[in-house]
Subunit: 297 residues, 6 copies
């Protein structure tokens, strides 16, 4: 055997020796993946994400997908002759719009089910209305009425436990009901967060369009690989975090405080970002962890 | 105690004595209810049907609902500026129409889930795509291409067994996939029939706009209460059956031959038709049964 | 369908809608029926009582029968040339009489088993001696020795749980043993009460020769449908209750305080009194319930 | 340690080494004991028999007692002013006599339960009517009507399995019912035989007033310790067997042919005859065994 | 039957009546037997000990053997040209000697497995290293280094529970490891004691070359049959106990205080000493028991 | 993120995507590893082998180790003053030599247990004598008596199933017994083969000092990656296979024919050869597979 060959083999062996303990550690653990953004628009990335989730399931983890559907909703709102309207970043959702929101989200939901089945994973798509999964209260935007937009008030995760026990991949769209059984639109990040908390998930991963949290947003070399929540809070307090990252990081902190072990912010545009983040020491994005959790590296 | 009171009590006791053995006989048995037609348009009837299903579940039966959504689909097709088109009774379903069909059926599906939860039954809505429940082949209308309309080719009912085991009420909309994972619209009667067969259901009940099968369609007094399949076949052969009843009765015969014990054709406009049919000796519609099944009365 | 028919059907449906939630609520619950008095002497009533019990069992309740045998005992005492003797309402029971009491009660016991089997219920008859079910101490009648008459001191209900688990109908005759393993006669009401308490029964029903408790014993219209124990105690304290109803009502209060949910005093002469009491809103007799239980109507 | 002591110890050890493999071999096995005759009349023997049964149960066997009551029945028949009457060895049993037979057998039954509980064994007494255990057809004595005397036609042993599973000692009195649910008296040997067969018992032991089967009935030294059924049939055919032993031996042969492994005829007057027969190599009575069973010694 | 025969039978019955309750009492209980000394050198005694253990297992006890190997070790040390060396009664065990100790103990271990299999018991031999059973710390002899001799520090008995659950006879040799995974020799009495404690054994029996504990060591008639630990401590405090019995009795006291119910010191030279001690009232050696345990006789 | 980084990540992802399906495919499967040769002498390789086995176990496979001990046996034979003697490649094993063989193999066995525990795997070492695992018949070398050398005749693998069920790593040394319970030395390759067959193992891997099977032994480039048994037989028939590879390849063919899915011949000198062979498409040695198995690449 040539030396070159031996080196290639050793490198392969090292990747495996690095990955195997993670695979074993996460065996049987629940992993919630919030799937949205660019990774959802590019068909090739979409397939890679679902393939990663399939592999996670294959080796014994219990993934759960929560997805959004933003751009597709706007397209259909327009198609039926209405004008999308936003108030402080929230879609103003009157009864008629809500009907379309629900129809589109369920369509996206079933298309992900379809892709998963095609790849060979036994998926079941449900909405937050099924089995009373997501119970909401009406949200307001700084006091302004924005219609049927909801904040998750209570979660009944039994249906997810049941689907996982029966070895299905649950795919969930963020629609819920209030106490009077009216339908509400929910922000997908919020829904993923609430579900991960209700399941005491081992991990919650956000597939986004950014690599992770930077110490200095202007210097890509300052990507933070692992971040304890006290440090995350300090970063926020010190004003280092801005834009869309702020609510996301607050969601992360909230999830950790509600019992999720680790929350990952990943660049969904990197192929196989889930495998790389979960099964390598370094990871590729930012992992937020509790104060009493141990760093991996 | 006055005599009148005693008589009222005795009548009550008799209803119970009549019903209790049925309740026990059907304990743990799967009952598929095809829900469509007028019973679906009238809000009060809708509530009564779901309430009946809730009571069936309450006393130990395992109901499964399969629903259609005909008129609502046409409304949305028009809303998006298209023209509904039918060929030999089938909706011509191009890709764009199919997208709307699926969206509308899922919307109807979730609205039934909503109603069931309101009444207190833990329902989960799925489509025939979930967990590969309904696998179809393309249907043609006497050779003419009618697009994405499917015939059920194979059924994978595991997801229904799992939901029933976990004590949920499964509510199913008739969308399926072919072997290339394309979406198809399925006739709701056909879907209900395929599902009842796959589950070897104790009963399959069609909620329709007619009282049942008549010996003489012009004489309401000739409603047939119980009908063995050989007699049903003879009625068809002798030309007594026509109109929309013909495919329905063929569906019934098919279901019986595939292992369903009894198929019921009920007038969904009669309040609480399901309770009356299942828990009284006479019933109110027509029950089709196998040659070796025993008549109830 | 004629209007008359529709009305009859609606009434049937209403009886069912009224009954089904009770059937579900009592599913798997233990119901102790004290069976004695007139209902035991009339062969037609006897068959109706056992038929009711059979139906209760059929739809998932777990009935247990405790019976007496009063008049038959006296007949046999006389037959063997002895003179029945009563002290303050208690049968004076010397060793020889006790032998006959036990023989007769076991004979009655097996005749009820026989009837149940004939109706199709798998019954097993035991006495309070079997498996040490009823452990007694000697009773005295205001200080006077009345022989082998016992008060239940301790109950070992395991044999009943086992028979119920194995789906048998337990039929029990009120004979017990003291700590020295001597046989004792026990008042059937007392035995039923002790057994219901030991089983934390959902219900204890006394089949008697009276309709229930009246506010005014002279006015049948003042029958009390539901009575909380504090009110029952007040009725007693206020002197409204007399005769044979007094010890019975005291038994009821005792049973409620020991964990039975509801005690029913029923007129065993009304056909199917058990079904009517348990499965209709109004009931037909008097139900005694704990302070924190809810009224049904 | 003196030699004498050592010898005593060695003898003890040998008894144990002899007994232990039998104890293990019979672990969990069902042993039916027909208990009657002298052993039933002498209070001291009675206690020893029940004590033996208790020890069998203690070390893991599953004993079942079937008992008779002959002399006690006659006493009560006379007590109520009737005359016992026998036809060809069978008690002529009219309806009135049957009532007494059943009452007395149940009394004896409960007295054995009482003794077992006193010794510390959790016993339950049932009759062949309970749970339909013994189903009979009317017997005739060479054509002559002898009233309610029955031959066992069918056995439903579920109640015995259930009592054994729940760790009770079943004690059974030989009363049964015909297809019309009339009560019948059954010969206790026949009942024991039918029950042992229905249970595929490991052993059936008859406690009698004779040591066992002799080659030469006049020579006590010719007691046969083990006898295969072909040899038993030959003894009968050759006319060696007479008197009460003949029906008993026929019962034994029948039991073996119906699947009982070994039937033992024991002298119930020898103290602890059950222990000695079952746990020593030689045994003390006669064991009848199938052709393909192995001799123990 | 002659009187002599009857007497022999009665004696046999009495041995059984004496033994059966013990057999039942110890059913499923763990019995640790420390096997060493003369009983190990005489091939006939060796076979009797293993036969006794086999019978204990046969009737439902769960025996565990811990053995030593003293003289055989010395033989092999000499064979490889080394000189056995003892310090204050402990074998000085350098690395090379330890290698031989381990080899010899494993050889003895497998020879006992062999004998057990020959007798028909499914045995598995392990050392205290397997599954980390015995974790030790280095022992010193009054400060002097004696090499790889260990004191048991921690016990991981899972492997024994697993072997017992799977119905094997575990045979254990006293070798353990320290926290750095070095091998150590352990005194077999100490190892047996630690294992019995870890298993909360019902019994721990030491097979020795002495009959038991004497009140007066010079008078064999003063053998103590049962001794509570407070009395044992008093005997030690009063100086009655000396020689090799002192550490053994201390081991017994320790075992009782750590949860073993009874510790037996037996003369392994008496044939079948285990059966006689466990299954007769008197026993043959000395049983040490806790203060709150009851005497057997 | 730089391009270089992305490439490194993609390579990592590819190794994982390649490995994960194997990890899943082999989940819960039994893998027998024959461990011997150079890999056993070099302490660093020894640790890597045990570490690989640990990782296999970690991710859900069920490894079993069978080991030899050749050179260490000779060392001890000489140490006790004897002369190792070989006949046609087999060690001539008289009773005295057999004693040493057994002692040494058990010593090696416990040293592997020790190493596994150090690495964190819960190992239990047994010999083929334990629980009657390996039953042998005497082997002869072309008719010449070579003493206690055995051929495996029968395998009782229950103890291995039990240890695997309890999550232990079984480590086995190749000593067995004949029907008279004498000890025999067994060739480790033969023992591994017999054990893999008895367990219907998914895989049997031989760690050797050669890379695998070559088409042309003189050209390392002709290493065969996957070889169906018919081709293997042809290679033998055509005379391509010689030396030590011949019996090994015959062993492989035998194992496949007895139900092992794949047998691997690996170069134990390549670090982490087990991981590389099992979890990469190409593998690194030669896999022998059945005619109806599918190639991996």
């Amino acid at each position: 055997m040539t030396n070159m060959n031996v080196n290639v083999l050793l490198e392969k062996a090292e990747v495996l020796i690095e990955a195997l303990p993670y695979i074993q550690r996460f065996n049987g653990k629940i992993i919630v993946v919030k799937y949205g953004g660019s990774a959802m628009l590019d068909e090739s990335l979409k397939r890679q994400v679902i393939q990663d989730v399939a592999l996670l399931k294959l080796v014994g983890l219990k993934p759960v997908i929560v997805h959004g559907g933003g751009k597709e909703i706007s397209r259909w709102v327009e198609k039926t002759g209405m004008e999308p309207e936003f108030v402080k970043g929230f879609r103003k959702t009157d009864a008629e719009t809500m009907e379309i929101v629900e129809m589109v989200l369920n369509k996206v939901n079933k298309s992900l089910v379809q892709l998963a089945l095609e790849i060979g994973v036994n998926a079941v798509g449900i909405s937050g209305k099924d089995a009373g999964l997501l119970n909401v209260s009406k949200k307001t935007a700084d006091g302004e009425d924005i219609g049927f937009v909801g904040d998750v008030k209570k979660t009944n995760p039994q249906i997810i436990y049941d689907l996982l026990e029966k070895d299905f991949l649950p795919i969930i769209c963020p629609v819920g009901m209030d106490d009077e059984f009216n339908s509400y639109n929910i922000n997908a990040d919020d829904a993923a967060c609430a579900i991960a908390e209700a399941l005491s998930a081992e991990k919650l991963a956000f597939l986004t369009d950014i690599e992770g949290v930077y110490k200095n947003p202007n210097d890509p070399k300052t990507l933070i690989s692992e971040l304890k929540i006290d440090d995350a809070k300090k970063l926020i307090a010190d004003g280092y975090i801005g834009g869309g990252m702020l609510p996301k990081l607050n969601n992360c902190i909230d999830a950790i405080e509600q019992g999720v072990s680790r929350v990952h912010i990943l660049d969904g545009r990197i192929p196989h970002c889930l495998l790389l983040e979960f099964f390598t020491n370094r990871g590729i994005g930012t992992a937020i962890l509790g104060e009493d959790e141990e760093y991996y590296n």
